[in-house]
């Protein structure tokens, strides 16, 4: 397996969707290719770091404001009218 082939299958490997045979081939490749191993590890870390550090939290005060605005708009919409 070449490095370019390894890279193509990286997502399958990381997502656990590679079948056993493919997985074995990828493991085998990583056994001797240090660079691909690093790429795999740092890509995994990239995903984890974005998943674990949730960016853009919604502050409670703003949240309340947004809720009020949304529900007011919904109420004023055609669907929100009792006549419907």
């Amino acid at each position: 397996m070449k490095c370019t082939e390894f890279l193509k299958e990286l997502t399958e490997y990381l997502d656990g969707t590679a079948d056993a045979a493919l997985r074995e081939e990828l493991d085998e490749h990583m056994h001797w290719c240090h660079e691909c191993k690093v790429v795999l590890n740092t890509t995994k870390k990239t995903i984890e770091i974005y998943r674990d550090n949730k960016l853009y939290e919604l502050p409670e005060r703003l949240r309340v404001k947004l809720h009020e605005a949304i529900l007011l708009k919904c109420k004023a919409s055609k669907r929100g009218q009792p006549s419907e």
Partner: protein, 208 residues
């Protein structure tokens, strides 16, 4: 086992809320807003890069969802249906803001550029030890903003919000192979760009 039951219970509760909201129960809809407002805001922020726009998107997406509840078929999850609305609203905002011809999910996806790894040094120490929370957050935001909308949207839905590949495809009206290929390239590009910060110990630009 317990988590599976919990998930099923949550889904049932959600279905109940959707039905009630459809029948005109605004309070039930309010519960749905509370369930998903954080996710919708995060997605909108990632796509628009603009606080004001993102808040508008949250409002408009929920309003649209409410007024179009009849169209919700129930064969997909309410959440994925909502995210689909939010993504479209966010892309529209981005288009307006850029005042440009097109911002679409097909943009820039044909280029191979930036996907082939060049940085192959391992990250050590752990990036979370290298930077403080705020500083790390800034790096992560700036880095993901450098990706094209097509790539960062797929990455955010799949890897940040945890939608499955199939749900991401459905939400963005893309094929599963298209999602996979964009996801791979988004991940590799992010990795490459983050490496510039996280290899600091090795390249030693002196800032940290």
């Amino acid at each position: 086992m317990e988590t599976i039951q919990k998930k099923a219970a949550e889904e049932n509760a959600e279905t109940g809320l959707v039905q009630a909201a459809r029948a005109g129960d605004l309070e039930a809809f309010g519960q749905l807003v509370k369930l998903y407002d954080r996710n919708v805001l995060r997605i909108a922020q990632h796509i628009t890069h603009n606080e004001e726009d993102a808040q508008d998107v949250v409002q408009e997406a929920f309003l649209k969802a409410y007024t179009n509840l009849e169209q919700f078929q129930g064969n997909s999850k309410f959440y994925t249906w909502l995210v689909r609305i939010a993504v479209n609203e966010a892309l529209m905002k981005l288009r307006k803001r850029r005042n440009s011809k097109t911002v679409s999910l097909d943009e820039d996806v044909e280029t191979e550029e930036g996907s082939m790894p060049r940085e192959v040094a391992d990250w050590s120490p752990n990036p979370e030890q290298l930077y403080g929370q705020t500083e790390l957050g800034d790096i992560l935001k700036k880095t993901i903003q450098g990706l094209s909308p097509a790539f960062r949207t797929v990455f955010v839905l799949r890897d940040v919000e945890g939608l499955s590949t199939e749900e991401t495809a459905e939400t963005l009206s893309l094929s599963v192979p298209a999602v996979k290929s964009r996801l791979l390239r988004a991940r590799l590009q992010l990795r490459e760009r983050l490496g510039k910060h996280f290899n600091a110990g090795k390249s030693g630009d002196g800032t940290r």
